[in-house]
């Protein structure tokens, strides 16, 4: 082998090693990065099936959602979520008791608004927890 070919094969080997390392690093980082949302419980607000907002239950807040369908005022207070007011005809969302546990849902059907309590922490949702609420 000429010295030119020898050094070429070593360089190629180094390239492959570098690429392999990058792949491994990417595979390790990807799942970590994709799960870096808010820790703990939060309320997912969806409009017509699309994610509109996420509200941490840790912070008291008021969110007014106005669309062509109508207006709903969502309140997070004391780790619970409720709909304080709305201009839908049946007010079922307003009459609904505040929700706070993973899986609980308040729906405003006329406005296509869905509020779901979610938890990022799988440990909270382990044994003994509730899979569904009959209501």
């Amino acid at each position: 082998m000429s010295s030119h070919q020898k050094s070429a094969s070593r360089l190629l080997k180094n390239d492959i090693v570098l690429l392999a390392i990058l792949v491994v690093v990417a595979l390790i980082l990807f799942p970590i990065v994709s799960h870096s949302k808010k820790p703990g419980a939060y309320a997912l607000v969806e409009l017509d099936g699309d994610e509109y907002a996420t509200l941490s239950l840790d912070t008291d807040t008021t969110l007014t959602v106005t669309t062509d369908q109508g207006t709903n005022t969502i309140v997070v207070h004391n780790h619970e979520v409720s709909v304080e007011s709305a201009n839908c005809p049946d007010l079922i969302c307003v009459n609904h008791a505040p929700i706070s546990l993973t899986g609980e849902v308040i729906v405003c059907l006329p406005h296509k608004l869905v509020i779901t309590i979610k938890s990022d922490n799988p440990a909270k949702e382990s044994e003994g927890s509730i899979d569904a609420i009959a209501e």
């Binding site: 492959i16 729906v107 869905v114 569904a132 609420i133 209501e135």
Partner: protein
């Protein structure tokens, strides 16, 4: 220059290796997946979750079937079969309507009329169907009740024709979600889904067991602010359906009027029940019974249950805060409050 080409080859090799690894993981990780979908139908929010080899196909088939059913059963949709029946007083039933009429008449007999699909004109008068709530005139309700008492639905099993007597209009609202659940379960079973959780606006069906082999935990919502749940059921292959006045009501003149109308009076049922939950492997029947028991009250419901204890169980919470369960579910039910077991 040679190095550049090799670099591209290396990159290509990398991509191929990554894809190959991903595929292998997919195969070695087992062929079962869990798929969940949520959608609006029958005036409520629904979600279906299933685990199996074709979970996505099965769950989406369920969603499509329920949305189709919604269109077919809607009283307000002029294209629905029910609308045609109510408009013309007759129609040719499809298999869904056949099943529903059959089951509805059966539930009506079982409950002595406490469940009655002919209640539609009364529901409409109160505004529960349109959202324009009002307390009807007593004379109007009285006339509607006599009308209801003489309402008849007849179906011919040979030519599938259905006839309504004069002035009769039906609404499957009190049984539709239960039937949709049955349709969903049939589809999931047909696609070999052994583990699923169906939630149709609070009507829950737990199919099989959870993917980890444990029973499904279904909580029963409490109508009171003082506690979240009346209790939790650990179940498999059962429907859990709750009825309560607190779900839909309006206030007028300081009085609360809820949507569970007693067919014999035309007014919201006043039997002492605050929340009734029926547990059964027959979701259609469970839906009808949950409404009926709320109208009947605990004593009549207990008599009914003692004669049919293999068909269903129920949980009864009354206006005084007392909780009762029938003994068929005593091993499945747990609660933070005390409850009495109704024995056979």
């Amino acid at each position: 220059m040679i190095r550049k080409n090799i670099k591209y080859y290396a990159l290509a090799a990398l991509v191929i290796i990554t894809v190959a690894v991903a595929l292998c993981l997919r195969l070695w990780g087992g062929t079962e997946t869990t798929y969940e979908t949520s959608f609006f139908a029958m005036d409520t929010y629904m979600s279906v979750k299933g685990t199996g080899t074709d979970a996505q196909g099965a769950v989406e088939a369920v969603r499509d079937a329920i949305i189709g059913l919604d269109g077919d059963l809607s009283v307000t949709n002029s294209k629905s079969l029910v609308y045609e029946l109510n408009e013309n007083g007759s129609c040719t039933a499809d298999s869904d309507m056949e099943y529903l009429i059959d089951k509805s008449l059966y539930a009506g007999e079982l409950t002595d009329g406490a469940f009655n699909i002919c209640i539609y004109p009364i529901m409409r008068e109160w505004g529960f169907t349109t959202g324009e709530f009002k307390v009807p005139e007593a004379s109007v309700l009285s006339a509607l009740c006599s009308n209801l008492a003489s309402s008849e639905v007849t179906s011919n099993t040979q030519d599938k024709s259905v006839h309504l007597s004069e002035g009769t209009m039906i609404d499957f609202g009190g049984i539709a979600k239960g039937y949709a659940t049955k349709v969903a379960v049939d589809i999931l079973n047909g696609k070999y889904i052994k583990s699923a959780l169906i939630n149709l606006g609070g009507n829950v069906y737990a199919l099989g067991k959870k993917p980890d082999g444990s029973l499904w935990n279904v909580a029963v919502k409490s109508p009171d602010d003082s506690m979240k749940y009346l209790g939790i059921l650990s179940i498999s292959d059962k429907a859990v359906i709750t009825s309560g006045g607190y779900e839909r009501y309006f206030e007028e003149g300081g009085v609360t009027y809820h949507h569970i109308i007693d067919p014999s009076t035309g007014y919201p049922a006043d039997s002492g029940a605050k929340s009734v939950t029926v547990v059964s492997s027959d979701p259609t029947l469970a839906d009808a019974l949950s409404t009926a028991i709320f109208v009947m009250g605990r004593d009549k419901a207990t008599t009914l249950w003692r004669e049919n204890s293999s068909l269903f169980d129920f949980i009864y919470y009354d206006n005084s805060g007392n909780l009762y369960i029938t003994e068929g579910i005593k091993d499945e039910f747990s609660s933070e409050i005390s409850f009495e077991i109704i024995e056979k």
